[in-house]
Symmetry: C2
Subunit: 314 residues, 2 copies
Amino acid sequence: MSILVVGSVAFDSIETPHGAVKNCLGGAATHFSLAASYFTQVRVIGVVGKDFTAEHEAIFTRRGIDTKGIERSEGLSFHWTGSYSGNMDEAKTLGTDLNVFETFEPKIPDAYKDSEYLFLANIDPVLQARVRSQMPKVRMVCGDTMNYWIADHSANLAKVLRELDVLLINDGEARMLAGERNLVVAAEKVLAMGPKTLIVKHGEYGATAFFSDRSFTGREKALRPFRAPALPLAEVVDPTGAGDSFAGGFYGYLASQPELTPAVLRTAMFYGGVMGSFAVERFGTERLQNVSREEIDERFKLFLEISHLEHAGV
Amino acid sequence: MSILVVGSVAFDSIETPHGAVKNCLGGAATHFSLAASYFTQVRVIGVVGKDFTAEHEAIFTRRGIDTKGIERSEGLSFHWTGSYSGNMDEAKTLGTDLNVFETFEPKIPDAYKDSEYLFLANIDPVLQARVRSQMPKVRMVCGDTMNYWIADHSANLAKVLRELDVLLINDGEARMLAGERNLVVAAEKVLAMGPKTLIVKHGEYGATAFFSDRSFTGREKALRPFRAPALPLAEVVDPTGAGDSFAGGFYGYLASQPELTPAVLRTAMFYGGVMGSFAVERFGTERLQNVSREEIDERFKLFLEISHLEHAGV
């Protein structure tokens, strides 16, 4: 099944305790697409400038990602500059040059209209809603957002939330959106805003799925929350895009399955963790460009080993 | 098998968003003993003052806990005053009245000398070492500590660490002890200080066990880390003693098993989470005094359900 993703395709300049890179390909849609491409067909909608070359495009196409929806515009691509220090659990944004992204108006190619899965990466909720409304027959919609939209664009965001099957955000965003410190209570409040299922990412501590009675068809009672681990890593080279890579692994696996069942959703969370753990091993998208199916399978088994009593290989 | 625990038996005055209590029975040894008592025989070494009544003692003896080693002294018992707010993930200490604990000199009754499992709760490492040296034939030693001892009593603490089978501390303590922000690297450094196994508690995000090549006999290679979940709770009435209750469930289960295997240790971490989740449901030790075996079994299954792909009951 095809996933249509709308979001940023950007260049990042990043500094971490392990080094620095300038103008490497990044953006939420990029990390998401690469991670999801190991599971299913991906189509991207975004905008880039003249600095986006054939070499950059090949990073997508080598993974079989459809780039027809990446619009070329005059000017420069979106550029993010950030740094990480200490525990590297939060980026310090040093610069956000929207450039061509400032006037971005998503256009959906006709060839994309039959996409069954839609991912609304973290962009202006007005644009998210506009894309959503142009895909009325989509089977499932998953979305992300961030503090900036929660704080200052809440009315627009509310409209997007009402249309979501799955909302994927981090702890701080979930607490902020709900205005509530307890995560379980916050999750209930967020689910009441519309999303059928909420997945809260905890960075190095994994992720938790919270369910409503609308999460799965044919189930009247909401399931208990489900917790998926993150891999303890001795070296995180660059955390940029880890959350988007989690989303890509998660949604890519979901889209590859015939039906959304509780077991499929749980397994998808593990694949999310798997792809997130690869993403942070190198700067930018370097690692996500070259993962083998064997490495993915092996790491999935590792996730079972570190979390399951009886899958310990001992 | 019997566990001998040395630590504080105290009175706590606690304020949380759910209410306040004055002078309720608390202390690390108390929470630990009650939690462990559901799995094995427990013997306590501590000191109390004249304010410790027959009713307080009955809280232990009703659970079959041996109180012979709780010394009665002139003066008042150790008294801790604290409050929690917001996410309740950290206590604010408002008062620490050591009282009779200030001159505490642990004495081990002869009847306790055959204890096979020793738990050194969070007290002065000089006292921890003194108790350890009087129990030369003990089969396993597990210990806790805190920021205060790590910062200002590191030489004394180092002696204790060298003798530990398992060290049970939280994230902040592990990072502080190692002088390292990355948790995996911090764990390697802590294991190099002596403990065969390190368990790092993450509060609402569960706990991770880090292993060395000395964790289990007959295994030359260290196992991968293991992550156990915490139960997502909509209401935490009082987090006081959650970590000690985790330790009690963990160590109580270990002591009830014939042998320390990787599978036993993993299962013990789940029981640690189970007892910690009960502890926070009521103020003080109220909930830990009255848990049924059925409730423990049911909650253990719940921990599997929220963390295991194939134990979902779906």
